[in-house]
Each structure stands twice: as structure tokens, then as C-alpha cells.
């Protein structure tokens, strides 16, 4: 047996090398599956307890009792709850969320149509939040208690506490109405609609692919204000978290050791301490992205941005239950996906997470 083991050392090493990551991915997938089941339970229960009668929505309140009963049986509401849940789960797995009452289209088609707009908005907001938020947080930590820190802390507190719709309105008033630096509400000016073919659904990207320079400029000009306002909110959060992670890292012994070997404070802070802070920051950034997606509701309403937030708002106000539950499911799935992503990204920045226990 020893001889056999010696004869195939490469195979052994290969198996061992691949076993760790595979095991980890399987573990993550299993937890994703459980979370997804939990999510469907929640949306199912919400759908049942909400005081909206789906039968009434179809037949109207003047329908005779026998019609009511027939429709009720048709959509399966007379079946026992577990069976209903099973049917619901099967439908969801096939991407069937029912039809929307307002648009009378399948909810899934609606969601696929509006989601890229939200994705575009929140992606840019996240990029702004991370690119500025992380360095700002680091500077606040290294200048703890001095004026830089005070200014940053005040600024992020402002970002925290300012209502986003108010900020949006003020932003529109200043930069669109008065200064005319940016375009107003919507994703594109009317004349630019339907010029570029949809590839990713992100107009900024699609217009670049199509080589439509004017569309790109117009889209970016529409995008920049709402994205900056959302970005400011995520910046505030990211900067605050970065500051506190950095403060705890800067107290570590390895920082003292790095200084003792003569490194510049710049390198110690930005390479060693920040390198360690990233481990914690990954989760924060993933969750920030999630909250940007759902937090876009108010921003999208103010900016008439045809995304998930606006769609959900309209559905809620019109008691369009299928659309609301579908949207909720989508946000939930995105959250799960982001969590999974951050779990899988950990090992990239933290060598300690590379070995599965």
C-alpha cells in the first residue's frame, strides 16, 4: 500500500488540492439551498396572510358566489396549505411568479426588464462608495481624533441620517434645474430610447458595445446624480466600517513589528493593516450592495428611474400581490447570492480561510 501511495504522489496531491475548495463550495451551496427554502416559506406565508383576496382581484366584488368558488378552486386556494406551498415552490423554481395585475405580463418578464436599471444604478453607487469610502475610512483611522477624522465622521453621519428622497430632490434642484450640469429624471432622454440593442441591460455598457457615443453620454448624465446620492449613502457606511476595522488592525502587534523593521507608516497602513481589514470589509461591501438594491426604492421614485424599486412601489400601491412577492423573492435571491459570493471571496484575501477544517 505504501508503494502504491509512493507511485502516485501527484494524484494524491492533486486530490488534496482540489478537495479543499470543492468541499467549501459544496458547503456554501448547501447553506444557500436552505436559505432559499426559508425565503420561499416567508414569501408564501406573506402571500397568505396579507389582507388581499386574490380571487376578488380576478372576479371583482360583484361576482356571484358560485363563480367566486369556481375561480377559488381553479387557482388552488381550497387545497391544504402544504400542498399549496409545494405548488408554489414548483412554480417559483420554474420561474413562474404569476402575472402582474398592472402590466398583465408575467412577473418574471417584468422583473427581468426592470432589474438591469436598478443594477446599473446600484453598481455605480457601490463603486463610488468603495472607491471613496475605503480610503476615507483609512484616513479617518490614521488621523483618529484630529480634524480630518472629525470632518469625515460628521460627513458620514450626515450621509447616514439624511433622508435620501430629500437629498435627491435637492440634488435635482441644484444640479439639474439650476446648474444644468446633469440630465433630469429617467434613464435616457426620449429621443435616445431604443437605439442601442439590449445586451447586458445596463445602458451605459450597451451603448459602449454598440459604439453609440451620444447615447452613452446621455445615459451617464442621467445616471450620475442618482448614483452619486446612493453612492454617498454607501460611502458613509463603508467609510465608517473601514475606520473601525482599521482602528482595530492598527492596534495589532504586526503593525508594531512592521514599523520596527523600518517600513514607512504609509506602507504599514495601506499594505499591512488594510490588507487585513479587507477580510472584514468584503462582507460589509456585499451587504452594502444588497441594501443599495432594496434601498433604491426611494431614489428611483424621486428620479423616475424605471428600476426594481419603482416597480415594487407601484405594485404595492396597486395591491399587485404577484409582482410584490416576485420582487421580494428577487431581492432575497440577490442577497443570498451576495452572501455566497462573499463567502467564496474570503479565501482570496484571507489565507486562513483557504484551508477547510
Amino acid at each position: 500500500m505504501n508503494v502504491a501511495a509512493l507511485a502516485t504522489p501527484s494524484a494524491h496531491g492533486w486530490v488534496r488540492q482540489i478537495a479543499g475548495p470543492v468541499h467549501r463550495v459544496l458547503k456554501v451551496l448547501f447553506s444557500v439551498l436552505l436559505t432559499f427554502l426559508g425565503l420561499t416559506c416567508v414569501t408564501f406565508v406573506i402571500g397568505r396572510v396579507i389582507p388581499i383576496d386574490p380571487v376578488l382581484a380576478i372576479v371583482g366584488d360583484k361576482a356571484p358566489p358560485d363563480v367566486y368558488a369556481r375561480v377559488r378552486a381553479e387557482i388552488g386556494l381550497d387545497l391544504p396549505l402544504p400542498v399549496q406551498y409545494w405548488r408554489y415552490l414548483m412554480k417559483v423554481l420554474h420561474g413562474d411568479f404569476g402575472n402582474s395585475v398592472i402590466t398583465s405580463q408575467p412577473v418574471l418578464a417584468d422583473l427581468l426588464h426592470v432589474f438591469p436599471a436598478t443594477l446599473e444604478l446600484s453598481l455605480l453607487a457601490l463603486i463610488i462608495g468603495v472607491i471613496f469610502g475605503v480610503p476615507i475610512g483609512v484616513i479617518a483611522a490614521t488621523h483618529r481624533g484630529r480634524w480630518q477624522d472629525q470632518v469625515i465622521r460628521f460627513g458620514s453621519l450626515l450621509g447616514y441620517s439624511m433622508p435620501v428622497f430629500w437629498l435627491g430632490l435637492v440634488g435635482l434642484l441644484a444640479f439639474y434645474a439650476k446648474l444644468g450640469w446633469v440630465e433630469g429624471p429617467g434613464r435616457l432622454d426620449v429621443g435616445f430610447d431604443d437605439i442601442v440593442p439590449t445586451v447586458t441591460g445596463l445602458i451605459v455598457v450597451d451603448s459602449l458595445i454598440a459604439g453609440e457615443h451620444d447615447v452613452f453620454v446621455n445615459a451617464l448624465s442621467h445616471l450620475v446624480l442618482p448614483a452619486s446620492i446612493l453612492g454617498y449613502l454607501s460611502l458613509a457606511y463603508v467609510a465608517r466600517m473601514t475606520r473601525s476595522f482599521m482602528l482595530s488592525q492598527l492596534r495589532q502587534e504586526y503593525v508594531l513589528a512592521a514599523l520596527a523593521k523600518g517600513l514607512s507608516p504609509f506602507r504599514v497602513v495601506w499594505v499591512h493593516a488594510l490588507g487585513n481589514a479587507w477580510v472584514q470589509l468584503i462582507t460589509v461591501i456585499a451587504l452594502t450592495f444588497g441594501s443599495l438594491l432594496e434601498g433604491a426604492v426611494l431614489t428611483e421614485t424621486v428620479f423616475a428611474w424605471p428600476g426594481l424599486g419603482l416597480y415594487m412601489k407601484n405594485s404595492l400601491f396597486n395591491a399587485d400581490l404577484n409582482a410584490v412577492l416576485g420582487g421580494t423573492m428577487l431581492v432575497g435571491v440577490v442577497y443570498i447570492g451576495l452572501n455566497m459570493l462573499s463567502d467564496l471571496l474570503y479565501p482570496l484575501v484571507d489565507p486562513r480561510a483557504r484551508e477547510s477544517s
Partner: protein, 289 residues
């Protein structure tokens, strides 16, 4: 030149201002160090680590360092700014910390951390620094340097971690090494191994060593001279071999409290602290030899 002491410290004071008045962490500490091994012993908070950090220029704010004389070779450390200290650290003075689990950056391979010191001080290429780091790993008796080079701190044992730390601190060839409790976090069996490696390097390179420890046995067996600190002051200074003849009641109390192999004592004598020990020792003046 070679006769001149490596380090001259006269009336070193480290003060932390606070709302309830200044806290004097180190009070008028004076000593000189040649190319020898000097031990500093004392209990927690006696100022021994702070003394080491003051020499490195690493006393955290708002701490203040003052001295009548603080010279490393012919460099006056008192007039040095942060930039000046940075050139010294690693290159002329280096420091080994207590626990390699915390004093090595957990997300960087140990090889890169050693090479980093080399690159920084010699502006060397990545290749040269790597070669130097591998050589250094071999010098601290690491058997498979190539493999260890690519490992992360959590993958190496405590003893190995401390050897890596020594390699990282000695690669730029400092004259003086301050070892702050270098073996306290290690298993007893590994302690001697690590000390022996440190000793070998210090001798080979003709360096000065300050060994800071609370372990009397260790210091007296390993060092040439011993300073005993209490409440921020040196209360006793003697040859390590003559530690058993120490005069100060604090040192005597510590020695009396040491457990001995073979003599089983049910009760160790308690250290009776005399408030008089806290009183300021007269600072050195030019008149004192």
C-alpha cells in the same frame, strides 16, 4: 570607534500625560551597552518594554521621551525625527516581539515579509530580496526554506514563527537587537532552541542584544549583565553571574520567590513591597562616574 559603546542611555524618561497628571512610565534610566547581552528584568508595568520602545522611537502618542543622553553609536537619537528613526529601524536597531502569532502579518507569506525588510533598506530587486530572505531562513536553521517562504504565519509553529521573526529583523544587519519577551509565548522546549539561534546570530554578527524578560532564570543564564527594573526605575544592575548576590530587597524578594527543582516548597514567600522603592533614585549627573 569599536571601543565606543553601542548604546548610551542617560536619564531616559518616558512620560504619558493624562488628566490626573503625568504618568512616568520610565524614570531616569541610565545604562550603556557594548557588543554584549544585556538583560532587563522586572514585573509587568515596570517600564522595561517602554524602555525598549523609547530606544526604537516607537513610544505611542501622546507619550513623551526625554533623556540627557541617548546615543546609538554616534547618532543622537534625541534629535532624530520620525524619518530619521525610520532609516535606523531594521537597519541598525531591530526588535523581536513576544508572540509570532500576532507579530507577523497574517495575510502575507512569511517570505515576503522577510524580503520586504531587505527591499526597503537596500532598494533591492524582488529577486535579490528573495535570495537574501531564503539565505536568512537557512541561517535561523529552517530546514526547507523554499517551502517555508511561501507559507503564511498561521501555517508555522510558534518556534518556527519566532525564528522567522528573527530572520525578518536581522536581514538588514542591525547592530542592536531588542528582544521583548521573545520566548514567553513559546513552549519551554522550544524556548532554548530559539534563544540559542538568537545567541548564535548575535555572536556571529557581533551585535548588542537587550533581552527584556520577566524570567529571572532565563536572563541570568543567557545574558552577561542584568538590569532589574521596578516602577520605571533601575533598582539594581549587576553581572548576570552575580545575580544571586543582588543587594536590592526587590531583587532579593524575587529571587526568594523562585521555585526550585528538588526543593518542594508548599508556600512561596510573598514579595513584601516597600513604598520606599517607589521614591526617585537620584538621576545621574556629570559628577557621577
Amino acid at each position: 570607534m569599536s571601543d565606543a559603546p553601542l548604546l548610551t542611555v542617560r536619564n531616559l524618561r518616558v512620560v504619558y500625560p493624562s488628566d490626573e497628571g503625568d504618568f512616568r512610565a520610565v524614570r531616569n534610566v541610565s545604562f550603556t551597552l557594548g557588543r554584549e547581552r544585556l538583560g532587563i528584568v522586572g514585573e509587568s508595568g515596570s517600564g522595561k518594554s517602554t524602555t525598549g520602545r523609547a530606544i526604537m522611537g516607537l513610544v505611542p502618542e501622546p507619550g513623551r521621551v526625554e533623556a540627557d543622553l541617548l546615543r546609538l553609536g554616534d547618532t543622537d537619537l534625541r534629535t532624530l525625527n520620525e524619518r530619521g528613526f525610520r532609516k535606523l529601524r531594521g537597519k541598525r536597531i531591530a526588535m523581536v516581539l513576544q508572540d509570532p502569532k500576532y507579530s507577523l502579518d497574517p495575510v502575507m507569506t512569511v517570505g515576503r515579509q522577510i524580503a520586504e525588510t531587505h527591499r526597503h533598506h537596500f532598494r533591492s530587486s524582488a529577486k535579490q530580496a528573495r535570495a537574501a530572505a531564503l539565505e536568512m531562513l537557512e541561517a535561523v536553521h529552517i530546514r526547507d526554506p523554499e517551502r517555508v517562504y511561501t507559507q503564511y504565519p498561521h501555517q508555522v509553529s510558534g518556534g518556527m514563527g519566532q525564528r522567522i521573526m528573527i530572520a525578518m529583523m536581522l536581514i538588514a544587519g542591525p547592530d542592536l537587537l531588542i528582544a521583548d519577551e521573545p520566548t514567553s509565548a513559546l513552549d519551554v522546549t522550544v524556548q532554548h532552541q530559539v534563544l540559542a539561534i538568537m545567541d548564535e546570530q548575535v555572536r556571529k554578527r557581533g551585535m548588542g542584544l537587550i533581552l527584556i524578560s520577566h524570567n529571572l532564570h532565563l536572563v541570568s543564564s543567557f545574558c552577561d549583565r542584568v538590569l532589574v527594573m521596578y516602577a520605571g526605575q533601575i533598582v539594581e544592575s549587576c553581572k548576570a553571574a552575580h545575580l544571586s548576590e543582588a543587594q536590592h530587597p526587590y531583587t532579593r524578594g524575587l529571587l526568594a520567590a523562585l521555585p526550585e527543582l528538588g526543593h518542594r516548597r508548599l508556600v512561596l514567600p510573598q514579595l513584601q513591597r516597600d513604598p520606599a522603592w517607589l521614591e526617585d533614585v537620584a538621576p545621574l549627573t556629570d559628577a557621577t562616574p
